[in-house]
């Protein structure tokens, strides 16, 4: 535990501290970027990009070896991975537009074929230069142990750059994500904004290769955004919350990986972010399950209460069990089903409100507030007392209209 705490406080050594900061920056950039592809409902495109980095990594390795250099130079590998991922994204786009195949098929096809080809190349490297490819397999799941100092710096800088780009572009990306057609009419170039978003996805993916590996970088793009969704309905807050969740997961995950043995960095970061997601799903007040359940039950009771009171007022028999329970609960009927005094009063009010709404619909024809009549909003919340008095007067004027 002390190991974990000291790692959290950046006291576990230079390397661990750098990895921690790098992972945090990666998490922030990934969480923020991921929000935009989530809003466009294209989350899994990042899975295609991530898996498609493999052939690029292998080809870059082979090229660097062929030119006599060290095949494992991180920058070279990152460039290679970005190139093949970019090709993959172009192909996904082409297939979705030029053929009748839907986008999810394009994503899956590109993902698996590129990855398969990458595996072929990996085995080629295996036969060519036996043992030397051991470094490449680490890109599948990431490996921060034994990370070189300059590698950590590269990652941290790239993460910061991605974060900066996100800050600069986020307003345009928000507009396009929210309503691309409207954005186009206001002069925002939708296509280039989408390209910029995809470019950011690429940058984040490539950075994440070393830290969490290509299989799991997708998680850092998707999970924080989905978790954030439960907390807010506003896009700017969504991006911020997702970035925070991503950053926290990255930081604490890296610390845990440094402190405990046999804890792979990528896996623990993803699991922490999933934990945050689960908490959000359950308890977030705006869209969380507990809150929704509560609202649903309350709504159902309101519906049954209203219907029950109207039935009581009209003298109709009630058979529905839930309706009877609700009426009993509020003391509107006795245990034997006979209406109490308060019950009859409430029923009469419900009936009168029905009549008032009917009149209101005719007299307030252009009024949007009447459109809000969903059978459950109290009339006192929509009309002032003197307006209600006017409705009552009209009811009184009408002959034999009370429902």
């Amino acid at each position: 535990m002390e190991g974990f705490l000291s790692a959290l406080l950046l006291q576990s050594g230079y390397n661990a501290a750098l990895v921690g900061i790098g992972a945090a920056l990666l998490g922030i950039a990934a969480g923020g970027t991921g929000t935009f592809i989530f809003l466009r409902k294209r989350s899994l495109v990042s899975d295609a990009a991530a898996h498609a980095t493999l052939p690029g990594i292998c080809l870059a390795f082979m090229a660097m070896v062929a030119f006599g250099g060290d095949g494992r130079n991180l920058t070279g590998l990152m460039i290679g991975s970005a190139a093949s991922a970019a090709v993959a994204l172009v192909l996904v786009d082409w297939i979705s537009r030029e053929t009748r195949l839907p986008e999810d098929a394009a994503i899956g096809a590109v993902l698996s074929v590129f990855f398969g080809f990458g595996i072929v190349l990996m085995t080629v490297i295996q036969t060519m230069t036996s043992g030397r490819q051991a470094g490449l397999e680490s890109f599948l799941l990431g490996s921060t142990a034994g990370m070189l100092f300059n590698e950590a710096v590269t990652i941290a800088i790239a993460g910061a750059v991605a974060g900066l780009l996100l800050l600069l572009l986020h307003r345009r990306m928000t507009l396009v994500a929210f309503d691309p057609e409207f954005a186009a009419t206001t002069g925002v170039d939708v296509r280039s904004t989408d390209l910029a978003t995809m470019g950011l996805v690429l940058v984040v993916t490539v950075i994440g290769l070393k830290v969490v590996g290509l299989v799991l970088i997708v998680a850092m793009l998707i999970i924080p955004a989905v978790a954030a969704r439960f907390w807010t309905e506003r896009v700017d807050r969504l991006v911020a919350i997702a970035a925070v969740i991503g950053g926290v997961s990255g930081y604490t995950g890296a610390a845990a990986s440094a402190a405990y043995p046999n804890v792979p960095t990528g896996a623990i970061i993803v699991l922490i972010s999933f934990g945050l997601f689960a908490v959000s799903l359950a308890f977030a007040p705006v869209r969380g399950v507990v809150a929704s359940l509560y609202r649903h039950v309350r709504f159902q009771r309101q519906v049954h209460l209203r219907q029950g009171l109207l039935a009581v007022a009209r003298g109709e028999p009630i058979f529905d069990g839930l309706t009877l329970k609700v009426l009993r609960f509020f003391g509107h009927i006795r245990a034997d089903g006979v209406a109490t005094l308060s019950g009859r009063a409430a029923a009469a009010k419900a009936l009168r409100d029905e009549a008032r709404w009917e009149v209101a619909r005719e007299t307030h024809q252009e009024d949007m507030s009447v459109a809000r009549f969903d059978g459950l909003t109290a009339i006192e919340k929509v009309f002032t007392p003197d307006e209600i008095a006017e409705l009552d007067r009209r009811i009184g004027d009408r002959i034999g209209v009370v429902a």
Partner: protein
């Protein structure tokens, strides 16, 4: 093409072909229902399922692992549905959350447990080891009729044959209902078709195929088999029956040519050794799809693209 072939190439090719077919058949319906990526999700969760089974049973025997993988797949599907409903999250994002988290869980469990005595590494899970499924006890084509030799065949052959039978049977029995509910779910429900249950059944069948094929070609490449042959077939015809037939043909071609290129290709290029058969099968299926995208008779979209 004598004893050598039967010993070293026949069973891997057969297993590869059976796996490809078992995946391509349900893939046709997944494609039409815009559920192509459920194969992606299921393939990723196979790993944690196997790890849990290993931790519980302490062995790497086939049946517990397959059971673990199947249960993991079903858990994943249920979680995905739950997240979609409860959060009103789109399918892709829900899948992304569930399968990455489960995969991460599998990786962590694997690292934490003592697997030094057992060969269970993540890379193998990702891309399999088809080349190793050889039939050393065979002595030639005659061994196909020799009961003793047959019982020494890699068990994946029979396993995949059975799974293929189950998959094909499901599609055959429910052909009409699958067709209608994929085309027009509301109408299907009005006919009394249990469309939701059928959809779940399709996913279960998909999971079974993925789990069985996983052993041969690894989890990630299973996705290629779910998507590429049916997608290529879709671009060849406008008749559902013919599409399924085309997808089977493409799956067969991918498996056979993929294996051959993997084994003999490097030799043709003057290099020694072979490359990953599973990877090559995926690559070949991709090339077939690419050809269909460029030249398939029905490749053009007719109307506007439908929103996801």
């Amino acid at each position: 093409m004598g004893a050598d072939f039967v010993q070293f190439s026949l069973t891997p090719m057969l297993i590869g072909t059976l796996a490809a077919l078992a995946c391509a058949l349900p893939g046709n319906f997944l494609l039409l229902r815009r559920q192509a990526l459920i194969g992606d999700a299921i393939s990723h969760v196979v790993l944690p399922g196997i790890v849990v089974a290993f931790l519980i049973t302490g062995t790497v025997a086939a049946w517990p692992m397959m059971l673990g993988a199947s249960l993991a797949a079903i858990v994943a599907v249920l979680l995905i549905e739950t997240i979609k409903r409860l959060g009103r999250i789109d399918a892709g994002a829900a899948m992304g959350v569930v399968f990455t988290a489960m995969f991460a869980g599998g990786v962590l469990l694997l690292e934490q447990s003592d697997t030094s005595s057992v060969h269970l590494d993540v890379e193998h899970a990702l891309y399999g080891n088809l080349e190793s499924l050889i039939w050393l006890e065979a002595e030639g084509w005659g061994s196909l009729f020799d009961w003793a030799a047959l019982s020494q065949m890699p068990p994946q052959v029979v396993r995949l044959a059975v799974v293929l039978g189950v998959v094909a049977g499901f599609i055959f029995v429910f052909w009409n209902a699958l067709k209608i509910s994929t085309f027009d779910e509301g109408f299907a429900l009005s006919l009394g078709i249990r469309a939701r249950l059928l959809g779940f059944g399709l996913v279960v069948v998909t999971a079974i195929a993925a789990v069985a094929a996983f052993d041969a070609v690894g989890s990630i490449i299973v996705i290629a088999m779910f998507i590429c042959p049916p997608a290529a077939a879709r671009l060849m015809t406008d008749d559902l029956g013919r599409q399924v037939a085309w997808s089977a043909a493409f799956a067969l071609a991918s498996a056979v040519f993929g294996y051959v290129f993997a084994g003999y290709g490097p030799l043709w290029f003057g290099a020694a050794g072979s490359v990953s058969a599973a990877g090559m099968i995926a690559t070949v299926s991709g090339l077939i799809l690419a050809t269909a995208c460029l030249f398939g008779p029905k490749r053009k979209r007719i109307g506007a693209a439908r929103e996801a």
